[in-house]
């Protein structure tokens, strides 16, 4: 793995940006799931206070090329303007009506003029024109919609679709995935729209498009609407109304419940876990058109998974949460934080056992998944007992590969329609079923 935890000069440790990116606070659709191989392609982004330099993430996402382009463009535009800025700023500040604003800008200006030329030429320290650059727009929108997180959400929805006990229909699958993706983009954009000043104050999120003024709030809202409305419409009319309503409900839950709740009470984590659990349910309902036990079980597995994942991650972000005013268990109720994480690790074992009972998978599934579930429970227990940085890290990293592996095993153990009909020799059958067959 390429995930490195670096100690900053103040002694506060910084989680690799990409994780943090997928993590909770002020973002995401719940900290959903990161697929390990997906992550392997990403490098750590480091924030070094002294150099104020940002190592570019060497991911194969579409974000980085645009990011670099933008830097070049803006350095060209702004560098010639740096020197006359201090004098021009005086005339500009006179036009602004507020004293405070004047003081603030002149203070910012003197700060800038004092810093050495090397630092000034760094993209972060420059004054930028707030004009929409069309060639950067795709990159900006990708970051606004948290495209990587959206991709993960869509893959969990696909997992839900794949696990549904119906013959696979490609068009339905594609429509459901597209609709879910659009809904996720919309929800993420609105979330960023709501959280601008908080995002600016947290290290993980301070480079978001709205924070940096690369896009106006109006445009962000319009983008969200232009993703959300077609997305939900697609789900409702192209797939089925149940999936559409689940999608709409999830957007509402994320933007109007989870996001404000983050700053009000620790209940946000539970709400967030539901938000993460809904996409696979949507995938299932897209395939079958009904909300049956299998969908709920899959949702339940994802719901339980959120807790060890998020609680472990949030353990390291306590300072930022505290300063930013976010109510998270790791800050206010640390004991509860660890208890809940452990509880849900154990719940995963229980839920995996339920899968064959509900006829979704064969009995090989709980047997094969037992080792990985036991391992994550063990790490959860260690986290519970030790409550330190290393145990929280271990638990978090485990959760990253645990989920994809669990879903994969689940898929391979999926009970095919043929198996259900054929009462002949089934591997890993339960005793009762074997008895049933032998009876006349």
């Amino acid at each position: 793995g390429l995930f490195v935890w670096r100690r900053r000069s103040t002694g506060i440790w910084q989680i690799p940006c990409q994780f943090v990116h997928l993590c909770h606070v002020a973002n995401n659709r719940l900290i959903t799931f990161q697929y390990f191989n997906f992550l392997k392609r990403m490098y750590v982004t480091q924030y070094n206070k002294d150099l104020s330099q940002q190592a570019k993430p060497k991911s194969d996402s579409i974000v980085s090329p645009f990011h670099e382009l933008q830097q070049l463009d803006q350095e060209k535009n702004v560098v010639p303007n740096i020197s006359p800025v201090s004098s021009v700023c005086q005339s500009w500040s006179e036009t602004s009506s507020r004293n405070e604003l004047r003081e603030m800008t002149s203070a910012a200006e003197t700060e800038d003029s004092v810093t050495p030329v090397g630092a000034e030429s760094k993209e972060d320290r420059q004054w930028k024109e707030m004009k929409l650059q069309l060639d950067n727009l795709p990159g900006i929108l990708a970051r606004l919609s948290k495209i990587k997180l959206t991709a993960l959400v869509v893959s969990t929805a696909s997992a839900g679709f794949a696990m549904a006990p119906v013959p696979f229909e490609l068009t339905c699958f594609l429509l459901a995935s597209l609709g879910t993706g659009l809904a996720s983009c919309a929800a993420n954009s609105i979330n960023q729209f709501f959280e601008v000043p908080f995002d600016s104050n947290m290290n993980r999120t301070k480079n978001r498009p709205l924070v940096r003024g690369q896009i106006s709030p109006l445009l962000a809202v319009c983008f969200a609407a232009s993703c959300g409305i077609p997305g939900i419409a697609l789900l409702t009319m192209g797939v089925n109304p149940l999936t559409g309503s689940l999608g709409a409900f999830n957007i509402f839950l994320y933007t109007c419940c989870y996001t404000p709740l983050k700053r009000m009470s620790i209940a946000n984590t539970w709400v967030g876990a539901v938000v993460g659990a809904i996409p696979p349910v949507m995938g299932w309902t897209a395939a079958t058109g009904s909300l049956d036990a299998g969908a709920l079980l899959l949702g339940g597995i994802l719901y339980s998974w959120q807790f060890p994942h998020f609680n472990a991650l949030s353990w390291g972000l306590r300072e930022d949460y505290s300063r930013g005013g976010y109510c998270m268990m790791s800050v206010t109720h640390p004991g509860l934080c660890r208890r809940v994480a452990l509880r849900h690790c154990l719940a995963l074992i229980g839920l995996s056992t339920m899968a064959p009972v509900l006829d979704i998978t064969t009995w090989t599934f709980p047997i094969i998944s037992l080792p990985i579930n036991l391992y994550i429970s063990y790490l959860g227990f260690r986290f519970y007992r030790d409550a330190d940085r290393s145990s929280s890290r271990k638990l978090f990293f485990c959760s990253l590969w645990h989920l994809p592996m669990l879903l994969l095993v689940m898929f391979t153990c999926k009970k095919s329609a043929l198996e259900k009909e054929d009462k002949g020799d089934l591997l890993g059958e339960s005793q009762e079923r074997a008895m049933e067959i032998r009876l006349p």
């Binding site: 103040t10 002694g11 303007n81 006359p84 800025v85 021009v88 700023c89 005339s91 500009w92 500040s93 036009t95 602004s96 009506s97 507020r98 405070e100 604003l101 603030m104 800008t105 910012a108 700060e111 800038d112 972060d124 320290r125 420059q126 004054w127 930028k128 024109e129 707030m130 004009k131 729209f193 709501f194 601008v196 000043p197 600016s200 104050n201 301070k206 924070v211 940096r212 003024g213 106006s216 709030p217 109006l218 809202v221 404000p260 700053r263 009000m264 306590r318 300072e319 949460y321 505290s322 300063r323 005013g325 976010y326 109510c327 800050v331 206010t332 640390p334 409550a387 330190d388 940085r389």
Partner: protein, 147 residues
């Protein structure tokens, strides 16, 4: 920002508030609506700046005080032999974070309400201004076509 520019300029994050200041462009023929928008944005900016600068300063100050008092209770100094600052471990700091968060919760709730209100107002005004500008542009084009 250069004198000839017709757009707003956004700067690097402020040292205290971590917010990026914006210098707003005042067009020569600013309509009443546009002025309302600009003023709303300036007010929001000032208010946010005030809040976060004070809040962050309080945080750092209280953090220092906490570390100092804890170190003193342990009989240690702020700086060790090599002159580096002594830090408390994460578990000890956690107490401070919990305390700080609960102390400031009410302040945050108030700020949240304020911020959401401002954000919606500003975005709505932006929408109105955009609409107005679009209509104005269409009218001008129609006039040009007629001429």
């Amino acid at each position: 920002p250069p004198a000839h520019s017709h757009s707003d300029w956004i700067g690097p994050p402020d040292k205290h508030s971590n917010l990026r200041p914006i210098i707003f462009y005042v067009p020569p023929e600013e309509s009443a609506l546009e002025r309302r928008l600009r003023e709303a944005r300036q007010e929001a900016q000032a208010s946010n700046q005030r809040f976060w600068a004070l809040h962050n300063r309080a945080f750092h100050q209280e953090k220092e005080e906490f570390i100092y008092s804890r170190l003193k209770a342990k009989g240690l100094e702020m700086r060790d032999e090599s002159g580096r600052k002594v830090t408390l471990n994460a578990e000890e700091m956690a107490e401070f974070y919990k305390d700080f968060l609960s102390k400031n919760l009410k302040k945050h709730l108030q700020y949240n309400r304020d911020w959401y209100k401002r954000n919606f107002t500003i975005t709505f005004l932006m929408g109105q201004v955009a609409l107005m500008r679009a209509l104005r542009w269409l009218r001008r084009r129609k006039k040009n076509v007629e001429q």
